[in-house]
Symmetry: C2
Subunit: 433 residues, 2 copies
């Protein structure tokens, strides 16, 4: 094998790796022959010098080959999946999954935990007493066959190289690279066995991707990589200028998902769910074109069938479903601090990154990978961009377990809100379908 | 302190660090709060995005502040030092040091070990039975006062941060950065206490610096950094297109140094020694201008006083000096393999990097830091660039302890030689004084 130093040097100097070289490098990393400090130097060189499409494909293959691959062919169905690039208040999966499953599609997803200022679906689902997120491959496939939906934590024996790489990228400022992002996501999706995946690429302050151009670039790359490896990848771009919906925090978001399944969800969340749901139903094996798919998605949300599927899903994964009818069954932290507006006008902005960091400060997310999570804490945004506001009106509430953390988070939320004296239009959430 | 990830990200995105930030980063690295994998990611970002002069100065200061600093003021003399950027067959220090000391200057040098394809003076000196390279600060200063010359290994309590950084750079392809090189070298020189240093910047295939422009860039930067920290830094550029002199390997190079001190040295080595010696004598406190300094240097080499100083120096550092009169007292590996020319013409090139690697292959250098060295092995180049050659004529001899390694090295040396059918001029060694 080429020596690690020579491989790092090649990328540093703008050269291109062969597929064999990259595969050997990742294998040597997993075998302990390439040290973390060598991999992180390579990651930085790759971020700054870029990876070609061939290199991105080779890296995807190398990550995939580091572990097992779920075989979903026994189901005899196309399994659809959804991936969000990470947002604040993003409880989409908990609504979308039951919606498409209740329409007859099969929705199977391996999901991640939150890190940084963005939450993770697995952490949110673990707010529900009894809910199991750690499933064997057999249970995953079996549940998909019976219920049409399964959402489980990423299994450690799938793409272990990506797990290690991701942990390293997170602490070495090497996350924001389109090729590294594409290889990481697509390798995970390939390992998970889905036939099609729709990406929800978040754009804006609260996201990795600050501009549409950047988001489109990564979406295009993931589509290209997926296509060449036999998985259909589509993408929609949604705004992460402000958090999605009103709730940020694990139990709070589960409760907002239930409200949405009951037809009382915030409009931005509903819009994103319907846009993704339409795509997933089209990409499934139901034989529907977009107009029918959209009508079916709307109907499933309106007529309670998505809610019924949610109940079935939570129950089959061991969760206590009493919170569906009685929200008080999910504990929410008792110290509530209200944040009030100090001036009159219109809400101009709610910095999603700051809101996400406030939630982490409260204990809703992790500062370090080994931190535990307080599912009961979070933030409820009462007003969103474009809403008129009066002095003294409540902008948001913070729910804290420790008062001092609550006060700190409240200050952050206050700072996250911008109020304009002149009228502001509500912000569209769908940027590009 | 700014978080390590934020610091890495700032450099990754082309930003500039404050002196306080860089100092904190290096301190946190030494305290174990910044991991090796984070430092290597920063090093790669710094290599690719560059460091400003202020950042280079701040890094130099941070490295210097990580350890002790030798105080040479009790000597009441200007101490001069020399630094080579690393070459093949570079035994200059062993001739130059005694030469300037015999002329009345004080020559004090902390020297490194070889790594990669280039040798280190300390390894070469350790070919001499009994010679001590590990000296206390008191011994170093005391010997300088008595003998006017001391060459010791880099003490572990001087610039420990540079030692750790250098080890990391070596295995992460982050050596070749002018600011990182400048901060590393100048911080070491400041810690060593010299008043002036002359750099021998090697240029060409066998060096880090492939072009004059690159070499001049790093020389200019080191002069600027030195100037702002109160040390005079000058530089000459010498060719490393082919190895310096004829001998490559530890004991072989010591013997060639002795030959040179006896007035029978190879012309390229003598030229480099005289050029550096002239500069060092001018920068010393003898009050000489360049013409007098050059005359004194030539005289010291011609009249045996440099050789006498060499004998005194080796003896005072504990070395057995019998090899000075009897070369056989330094063991040279007994398996000699001659490499013969296969065609007629003129020597067009001797790839110094390949010769250096052949020497490492024989055991004269280290593949890894923990490797031990075989002082007896090496290569003697009989012909150099511009020499006419006949088929069957001996180009070089390899001296090996293990025959298989010798054969491999012989093949490499054969490949390192290029023979031209048309006349080739000898290569100048002094590129820019």
């Amino acid at each position: 094998m080429t020596s690690p130093v020579d491989i790092i040097q090649r990328k540093r100097d703008g050269g291109e790796h062969s597929a064999v070289e990259l595969a050997g490098f990742i294998r040597a990393f997993m075998d302990g022959e390439v040290a973390d400090y060598q991999m992180s130097a390579w990651l930085m060189a790759a971020l700054l010098k870029g990876l070609s499409l061939s290199e991105t494909l080779a890296l995807t293959d190398a990550l995939l080959d580091s572990g097992k691959r779920l075989d979903l062919t026994p189901l005899g169905r196309r399994v659809v999946d959804k991936h969000s690039t990470g947002g604040v208040g993003d409880k989409v999966t908990m609504v979308l999954g039951p919606l498409v499953a209740s329409s007859g599609a099969v929705f199977g997803k391996m999901s991640g935990r939150g890190l940084g200022h963005t939450g993770g679906t697995i952490d949110k689902l673990e707010s529900i007493p009894g809910f199991r997120t750690s499933l064997s491959a057999e249970d995953f496939v079996g549940q998909l066959g019976e219920t049409g939906i399964c959402v489980a934590g990423q299994s450690a024996d799938l793409v272990p190289a990506d797990n290690r790489l991701y942990a390293l990228r997170d602490v070495t400022a090497t996350v924001e690279s389109n090729p590294l992002i594409a290889a990481s996501i697509i390798s995970k999706k390939l390992a998970g066995g889905a036939s099609a995946v729709v990406l929800d690429v978040k754009v804006g302050k609260g996201s990795f991707f600050k501009t549409m151009g950047h988001a489109q670039g990564v979406a295009h790359l993931m589509r290209a990589v997926g296509e060449r490896r036999g998985i259909t990848v589509e993408a929609i771009m949604t705004s992460m200028e402000q958090p999605l919906g009103h709730a940020v925090g694990n139990a709070l978001e589960v409760l907002e998902a239930v409200e949405t399944l009951k037809g009382k969800g915030p409009s931005d969340l509903v819009e994103v769910v319907l846009a993704l749901g339409t795509r997933l139903l089209v990409l499934s094996d139901l034989g529907w074109e977009a107009p029918q798919a959209e009508a079916e998605a709307r109907r499933a949300l309106a007529n309670g069938s998505a809610l019924a599927k949610f109940r079935e899903w939570i129950k089959v994964q061991g969760g206590d479903v009493s919170f569906i009818d009685d929200p008080a069954a999910l504990p929410v932290a008792s110290t509530e601090i209200e944040i009030q507006a100090s001036s009159q006008g219109w809400i101009e902005a709610i910095d999603a990154r700051v809101v996400g960091r406030a939630a982490v400060e409260l204990g809703a997310g992790r500062q370090r990978q080994e931190d535990s999570i307080d599912h009961s804490v979070g933030v409820r945004l009462k007003l969103k961009k474009g809403d008129p506001v009066m002095p003294g009106q409540v902008l948001a509430s913070v729910y804290a377990t420790e008062k001092s953390k609550g006060q700190k988070a409240a200050g952050m939320i206050q700072a996250a809100y911008g109020i304009s004296r002149s009228r502001v239009e509500p912000a569209p959430v769908l940027l590009l379908e």
